[in-house]
Symmetry: C2
Subunit: 338 residues, 2 copies
Amino acid sequence: MKLTMRLGVRSYDIILKRGVLSRVGQLTNLSRRVLVVSDEGVPQAYRDAILAQCGQGVSVVLPQGEGSKSIACFERLLNTMLEHDFTREDAVLALGGGVVGDLAGFAAACYMRGIAFINCPTTTLSQIDSSIGGKTAINLEGAKNTVGAFHQPCLVAIDPDTLDTLPPRHFANGLAEAIKAGVIADPDLFELFEKGDIKADIEEIICRSLVVKKNVVEKDERENNLRAMLNFGHTLGHAIESISGLGKLYHGECVALGMLPMTESPSVRRRLRTVYKMLGLPARIRYDGEALYEFIRHDKKMGAGGAITVVKAAKLGEVRLEKIPLEDLKTIIGEGIR
Amino acid sequence: MKLTMRLGVRSYDIILKRGVLSRVGQLTNLSRRVLVVSDEGVPQAYRDAILAQCGQGVSVVLPQGEGSKSIACFERLLNTMLEHDFTREDAVLALGGGVVGDLAGFAAACYMRGIAFINCPTTTLSQIDSSIGGKTAINLEGAKNTVGAFHQPCLVAIDPDTLDTLPPRHFANGLAEAIKAGVIADPDLFELFEKGDIKADIEEIICRSLVVKKNVVEKDERENNLRAMLNFGHTLGHAIESISGLGKLYHGECVALGMLPMTESPSVRRRLRTVYKMLGLPARIRYDGEALYEFIRHDKKMGAGGAITVVKAAKLGEVRLEKIPLEDLKTIIGEGIR
């Protein structure tokens, strides 16, 4: 299946197909220097499949986890390209999850002021969400995604076969972003989850999620307005992720939790929790509401009197951006997750 | 005098006016957090003038010289912004020469995926050339400008009064880029140099140079083609700068030397040398031609059989891009500088 992200001169194809990992070279030029970035969690067989198609492939395998989204790893990728005489005509290929894609994409954005970037996501999270849209980033001392660039890939090649080797918790983690896509714009997608045969429907789930995101990104590439809708569940999710210690709860798990208080309909909230339980996603969490509030206040760099824009869902497929006093967040936090 | 760089949503004004340094706050919003980046060579009075106009100014003073265009300084600027709770709505202001502008611009490009960048150049080089056009960069282990971004400023405020405190060699150094602008597109500008009253004509020299660059950048913002003309003298200049040790000869001095072999008309070459001598720019240099050739071959990441695109001037105001076998560069190198 092929989707095309239509962004003028920055347009690109998204190919979703079982086995595509061994055919990437037919879809884009790999007969050049290609920096293949993956992490220790990515099976060697996938790296071999990609490297076999590269004219001059250079492999960098990073430690697994959020810690690799650092200035140090960014510098490592850049120096590796320089040592191997990469030019403006060469490319970076990300093979892995969101961490690998964000870091590799940022290195591609900055090397020689931007070279080609190919994204081959291998996790549900990256296949469903992070591999398209052009956001790249690294973290600064625990502050998530503080440094980055908008740099669109020239190809996204999604091979659902790679999900077979993903640990179950990782598999469920990424589905949270698909549930989000269902809630904000595609009730039928949400109902696919309620049907409950995820493995059988995974290609449709990925595809429909990508369509939701693509439609938003095409209208607002640089998040001046509309794109903020994609952050449904993320303001709280991000805070939960940070105060519980980066990496302890996974990103998707935190987004799942973060969606609950922002869902206004009690019946939809119940339906969400039912789906979460079926998938093994957390449906409740004990937390310190004050700490959560303080984190958001500091993270959004605002005083107590500030206003914050949140995304709320009145019902399935109906979300809106709402600017509320930061104080109101305290009430909201109290309501939905415990 | 006001020029407008017309680049759609990325358009901005270039204000060239004596004393403008103390009026920047009237031209753009400084009532926010502003990271004021300068170096030890910038007089304290200029910093004070800018900081007095900032709502919440944060000053970073870097060591002088090319060494500051490093990953370490890049990280320092980013961490400073994070510590001071900079948001997407805040700004970076560069106050200094090309090094400060390139580094500060790159930090502005990457912090939160891009925040406002204000450029207040205080050297001839940056006022004449590097402050406009949106190229930002840092160096990787001696490899100049290997990492960077295209990130246009939202305002360029040029105060020629700041040139009065510039050491004479620095003053002459930047003029090389104006001579370049004259050769490639404005013979009258070149004749201003032959007239010889530089101090009296400096505003016209800056303005005309900016117009030449602006016209090219507006047609080819990201250097896909035409913009490469602005690199006249730079392929060799860059190599001379590097093999003689970064910082020993200044950038403009090397560009001046680099233009000579690329100037095909012997009479124009003579006129160039006459102007160089008058300004105190080098008109000849002893060098190892083989080392120069090898540097370019390695810098451009190509084997001996490769082809390289150079900019040649047939006469004043008439330049062209020419793809030549790398080997031919050996002959060219032998001709013009010794």
